[in-house]
């Protein structure tokens, strides 16, 4: 990130499409809205379920990068206790 705030008055990542993993092996790609004590709220979200996915995580992310975010949820809350690791901007992925 360059320090540029996309949506002035909000967090730096507000309105930016990010990647987030959870403890159950799910990977989420969605537009960051906010983080609260309840969790991370995303909009227009694609979800990869570890056990059910046809593609491994890297291949799935590459597909999101090339063809766009395959939205399955308009809004989704990733519970705080389930989230793992930092929020990564989708365009910052090194695959």
């Amino acid at each position: 990130m360059s320090g540029h705030v996309f949506h002035p008055g909000h967090e730096a990542l507000h309105g930016i499409t990010v990647v987030l993993d959870d403890r159950d092996g799910r990977t989420y790609v969605g537009r960051y809205h906010e983080a609260t004590p309840r969790g991370v709220m995303l909009h227009d979200v694609a979800v990869r379920e570890a056990g059910a996915a046809a593609l491994d995580r890297e291949a799935w992310l590459k597909r999101q990068l090339k063809f766009g975010v395959q939205v399955t949820h308009r809004t989704l809350l990733v519970p705080q206790e389930a989230a793992v690791g930092p929020l990564t901007r989708l365009t910052d992925l090194m695959l």
């Binding site: 540029h4 996309f6 309105g15 537009r31 063809f67 975010v69 365009t91």
Partner: protein
């Protein structure tokens, strides 16, 4: 539900003022994208203030280059619903997002700029990205 036309008219004019042809009906879309020849750019416009607010001037800057698509069109997502859906059918492998940009060459998508690639970037960066695509695909 579409926004009040008075709100979006300036967003349309920002592009049509550049000479970008707006496609507002399915027939208009099919007339140009159904007869592909050479390079065609489709800008999917949006009311999103931040992303489209950078993408439109980004396109304007990019089109100042002598190397650019032969034809440049726009549809307005959320406003001209049927025309937008029809335009997207010409690049159906790509997930719908707006704003976004498709560059086609002889009817094949050769480059796509998704909304996620626009978010948080200024017009200069978007123009540079588009100009790189123009150089790769639109040079004589």
């Amino acid at each position: 539900m579409p926004y009040d036309e008075r709100l979006v008219a300036p967003m349309r004019a920002e592009l049509t003022g550049l000479g970008v042809k707006e496609l507002r009906t399915v027939t208009e879309v099919d007339q140009v994208l159904g007869d592909p020849a050479g390079t065609q750019l489709v800008f999917v416009n949006s009311v999103c203030g931040c992303a489209a607010g950078s993408a439109r001037p980004g396109l304007a800057r990019a089109l100042q280059s002598p190397v650019k698509p032969a034809s440049v069109f726009t549809v307005f997502a959320g406003q001209d619903l049927e025309a937008t859906a029809r335009a997207r059918s010409y690049f159906a492998d790509y997930q719908p997002s707006s704003p976004s940009v498709a560059l086609l060459k002889d009817g094949e998508v050769v480059y796509f700029l998704h909304r996620y690639q626009i978010e948080g970037r200024g017009p200069e960066a978007i123009a540079a990205e588009l100009n790189a695509a123009f150089s790769a695909h639109c040079a004589a």
